[in-house]
Subunit: 344 residues, 2 copies
DNA sequence: TTGTATGCGTTATCAG
DNA sequence: CTGATAACGCATACAA
């Protein structure tokens, strides 16, 4: 009663295991009567196929994996559903797998590919530095999504990516703040030494906007994330902004490299008796849901996550089915002007 | 080069496969020299073990699964890390698996148990109705976390649960609002016909508080979620609350059955030219991060998710290792009074 | 349409 | 300490 296998079902029905296997896998060449009988036995015995055995015995599996680093990142939430749906339409299953903070996403991917006989991978988040050699060890097609703008440093021919141009978008936002009349614009979130992560790229855009508009770049206006708080959390934005202001930092606007940080910053400003946007304007990045509902609502660069997700799936399946090549697609972010920067 | 197996490694090193298997699994009875040689070959060949084969061949696996229904629910985020950590300390791996909206969590669980030879399961979210028979088909210990208060209707002896008493907590919040002087308290989120889900339970508490305080229960003050929007999203709270108010609904306070809904409601009130809490007070449920940072911040019932996660793991491992029995633990929620209900 | 036999990559048993 | 070899549960080619 404990562990029903395909053999038990076969015996019950006086048929061979292969017949059971066929009906279970929806092969057409099974006598309807036999099929019915088998299905009934399956039901009655509560038979559940063993996926490990299944994966082992099978040569290929029409499935891809979606490897998410940072499942709690709400930016990814809408993408997951879209990719799963897109896969289903193409006749693929998708296994959603979370990559731990300290895990190497490529190692996880390789393991999963072997285990599940996957046809391809989509990475969501993570994926900072990997040697070309390591990239090549993953022998199924893969596409990187929202993992920082993919520059030339990588071997771009062996995989795909979809992303926004973090640097350009950050420049856009900074220039917008400048046009709004701000002269002292702080940036919240980036670490000083790290120019390949999204944070680093957004910092680059910020700098470049300042410089090309005749402002000097002032390190005092770079507010790094708080060390003692979870990265990119609202609380982190709150802690970092609070410290900045309490230590006498001055600015007329703060550009946070994520909406979560912006939300924390807005509250920090409020708690210190100042007003947004009158005293300090606040801008974010990403376009997550919460930013719309804050009071004041948060001006942001919205990443077109739906399009990105669709495109990621599209590219991947085309490469898998050899109807297309790897490519690197950059999506335009949308500057959404909201209350946190608008002086009414 | 493509698919290195344990046999290839064995050949390379002139040893048997079992020796390779042993070193890979950290068995002590392997000559250090042989071990070293094997490890080098593994490295060199980029060998990755096939987990499917591994799971098949192995009799038991020190692993549990964490089945999450609704990965994007930020309430769960902190719990995941805690459970994984707790498992690791006990020497167990934990596989995090997301259950799709339309999937049956018990089916998924049974499949996974077979596939991975799991020792136990923790369910996060979901899990509304299941026949006793179905419950018994899952033949490893499991514990339900934050999935609605487990009443007597279930066969409580065969599994565990950790939760808050949704009904009592909702009553607590409603009574708090009554004490704050509110006479017309709306409730946002529950559906009218459904008294076993968390929404239904919280509605029950709301009613009971009203009645026992001499108010009559008014169906017009029940604001169901919006049908065209994602359940429990901020946008849903916004849409539902907006409609209620536009249709002439009146209330001096609204108790949302989740913080996300409360956040949307707060914004809806604001957009219609009213103020929180002066015109309409807002209260939520859960205690998610965002509620703290809203302006005004959201009064809520905080679920002690950290304690609940720890306890869930604790119970599960005790049952697995037969050092404890199944039990149903109810945690007290904490009413956190914040700006959204406080008239300064 | 159906059954038999072989292989998938490991683990584990059991002699050596 | 080590190496054959038999499971593990299923898919599949092949034969019937």
């Amino acid at each position: 009663m404990a562990n029903v296998t395909i053999k038990d079902i076969a015996k019950m029905c006086n048929v061979g295991v292969s017949t059971v296997s066929r009906t279970l896998n929806g092969h057409p060449d099974v006598n309807p009567e036999t099929r019915k009988q088998i299905l009934e036995a399956v039901e009655k015995m509560h038979y559940v196929p063993n996926n490990s055995a299944r994966n082992l015995g099978r040569s290929e599996n029409d499935a891809i994996a979606l490897l998410v680093k940072g499942v709690s990142n709400t930016l990814f939430s809408p993408m997951i559903g879209i990719i799963e749906e897109e896969a289903k339409e193409r006749g693929y299953d998708t296994v959603l797998h979370s990559v731990g903070f300290y895990e190497d996403e490529l190692d996880v991917a390789r393991e999963l590919v072997k285990e599940k006989r996957l046809r391809g991978i989509i990475f969501l988040g993570g994926f900072s530095f990997h040697s070309e050699e390591k990239l090549n060890e993953l022998d199924v097609p893969f596409v990187l999504a929202t993992t920082g703008y993919v520059t030339e440093r990588f071997n771009r021919g062996t995989y795909s990516s979809v992303s926004v141009d973090d640097e350009a978008e950050a420049r856009k936002m900074t220039e917008y703040l400048i046009k709004m009349g701000h002269h002292r614009i702080a940036i919240l979130g980036p670490s000083l030494k790290d120019n390949s992560s999204v944070g680093g790229l957004r910092l680059l855009g910020y700098k470049s906007a300042l410089v090309s508009n005749g402002f000097d770049y002032n390190e005092k206006l770079i507010i790094p994330m708080d060390r003692d708080t979870v990265d990119y959390s609202m609380e982190n934005g709150y802690a970092a902004m609070t410290r900045f202001l309490k230590e006498g930092g001055k600015c007329s606007a703060v550009f946070a490299i994520s909406d979560t940080l912006a939300i924390g910053a807005e509250r920090a400003i409020h708690d210190l008796g100042m007003r947004t946007p009158a005293d300090i304007a606040v801008a974010g990045f990403d376009g997550i849901e919460a930013g719309r509902f804050m009071i004041p609502s948060i001006t942001t660069i919205r990443q077109p996550v739906e399009d990105m997700a669709e495109s990621a799936a599209d590219i991947l399946f085309n490469v898998i089915e050899k109807t297309g090549d790897h490519r690197h697609e950059t999506f335009p972010g949308e500057l959404i002007e909201r209350e946190s920067t608008k002086l009414r």
